[in-house]
Symmetry: C2
Subunit: 321 residues, 2 copies
């Protein structure tokens, strides 16, 4: 009998979620931990093993009856080798060059697959979400960072190393004075990601844009704060959100010209900014695309919801099947 | 016996070249015409038929012994349907919505395939040129316009309509005051293509950049003129060429982040600007890429030479074989 369950591991910098997922992308159950970054690499692998087994035991499921363990990782990987290149999300231990797939595989008898979280979430959207029914789909996650998952002709396109889809690093404004963490000026990430928000707010304050919010040195400027400001009708927050939307709109337009896809799916935390933001993204896209659109394109919000990371990780086990 | 010959048709706005090409991409013979844009669409199809037959007859080859007729077309196409969307290269007749593949196919008993010229040249580079030996290759042609041919996992990626790879239209400088023919400001084409040169030169003249050249209203500002200036050591020409190179370097960097390819091949007329230009492109690329390059990437010049259009068109017949 074909195995009917997948195990997904969402390995983020804040949260480690592990879930059992059905072949239709629905979640059976999950366990979550927040203490995983306090361990070292080996300890983390053991924690993943233990949490998976805890979950399986609680459902009286044998390891051998799941199809495998799919892991979505918040960082760069050499996909073929299953080795971490870099990550800025696990400051407490050196993930660099860690052979994560092999180290986790040794704890399991079923196959283990590891990919970055944008690819994982993108593939879940392709199978179960807003990309379902298409052969090609571009997934763009707009969160702390910005990344794309490229599903081309039903397969995730990963490139030579495994880092294809690093769309947040593309330069969209070389005259910009905003520097990204990557060191460059004017990449999409420096204009429209969660990481960019402190700089974008600071610029607006310098330009004396009106605001009812009080920003001092202790203020955590992030997507949530901007959302609160937006809901309260704050002009500064609104102008930052619209400016971010314009850059994401440019990004979508560039993706359109490059891939001519039938659908682009947007996910990630900043999509919580809501209709004002999403509508402005689409408005900017259509302003740029004008008469160059020969077939309709769908611009959709991700559908896999709060467990997208988990379901995405699990969905990696279905690729090519 | 497997058919050993291909027929390639390079259908450009200036020149119509038709050639017999071997399976290894070498040219047997060709015929060329410059009067093809004076005809109407039907007349053009008949001219192609007659020129192909003339070429076959002169070599005493039956039509049935060639593998097919591959056509590289300077314009947008619906690839699946073989229908022209738009072209700005044939002003004397309305190619819009012309079912070019069907209209040419009716004159032949062997298969006819039509694709845009960037895809065709890119595929020839992949099979026979600087991309040979790789599974994935990005081809960028920098000429009157700018376009990419995307060969991903050995197949040309064309997107929904057939217009994937329109990389010249990606926005790389939204603050720009240079408008492209497409209507947008700051796309790659408006900063680094042959079409952009008159505007770029005009801006330099306004900025009073020193030049020994005399520009009046009758001066044809194109790649060749800039090349002459460059060879004569003219400061203005040099600064325009370097500025174009910087934008192409940004384009390569963006392609790298999106596709993580093992090789990017550069072709098109402006590559004749030579080492000063090509070296500056690479310099800009590596300045941006810094420590984000985890595996070596080859940045190469196209190798298929002056008959690239022809050989590319013929090579389309080999796709998926």
């Amino acid at each position: 009998m074909k195995k009917q369950l997948l195990c997904g591991v969402d390995l983020g910098g804040t949260k480690l979620s592990i879930g059992l997922v059905r072949l239709d992308g629905t979640l059976v159950d999950k366990v979550v931990a927040y203490d995983h970054t306090k361990k070292n690499e080996t300890g983390l692998c053991i924690q993943i093993r233990d949490m998976v087994h805890e979950l399986l035991d609680s459902h009286r499921i044998e390891e051998s009856s799941i199809r495998g363990v799919g892991i979505g990782f918040a960082g760069h990987l050499r996909f073929e080798e299953g080795v971490v290149i870099t990550t800025s999300n696990f400051p407490s231990f050196k993930m660099k060059n860690f052979p994560i797939r092999r180290m986790i595989q040794q704890h399991f008898s079923v196959p283990v697959i590891v990919d970055n979280d944008a690819n994982a979430q993108g593939y879940a959207e392709f199978l179960f979400g807003a990309g379902a029914g298409y052969d090609t789909m571009i997934f763009l996650t707009v969160s702390t960072g910005i990344g794309a998952g490229l599903v081309l002709n039903r397969r995730v396109f990963r490139g030579l190393t495994g880092t294809a889809g690093e769309f947040g690093h593309t330069i969209v404004n070389p005259q910009s004075d905003i520097q990204c963490g990557c060191g460059n000026y004017g990449c999409l990430m420096s204009h429209a990601s969660g990481l960019a928000l402190p700089q974008l707010v600071r610029k607006k304050l310098e330009q004396r844009v009106k605001t009812d919010l009080v920003f001092d040195e202790s203020t955590q400027i992030n997507g949530e704060l901007l959302k609160q400001g937006l809901d309260a009708g704050d002009s500064l927050c609104r102008s930052v959100v619209l400016e971010c939307a314009d850059f994401i709109g440019i990004g979508l337009y560039n993706l359109f010209q490059i891939f001519n896809p039938p659908v682009i799916v947007l996910g990630g935390g900043l999509m919580n900014w809501g209709p004002l933001y999403f509508d402005r993204i689409k408005e900017k896209f259509y302003t740029l695309v004008r008469d160059m659109l020969y077939d309709p394109i769908e611009i959709a919000l991700a559908k896999t919801g709060p467990d997208a990371g988990l379901i995405g990780a699990a969905s990696l086990l279905l690729e090519g099947q």
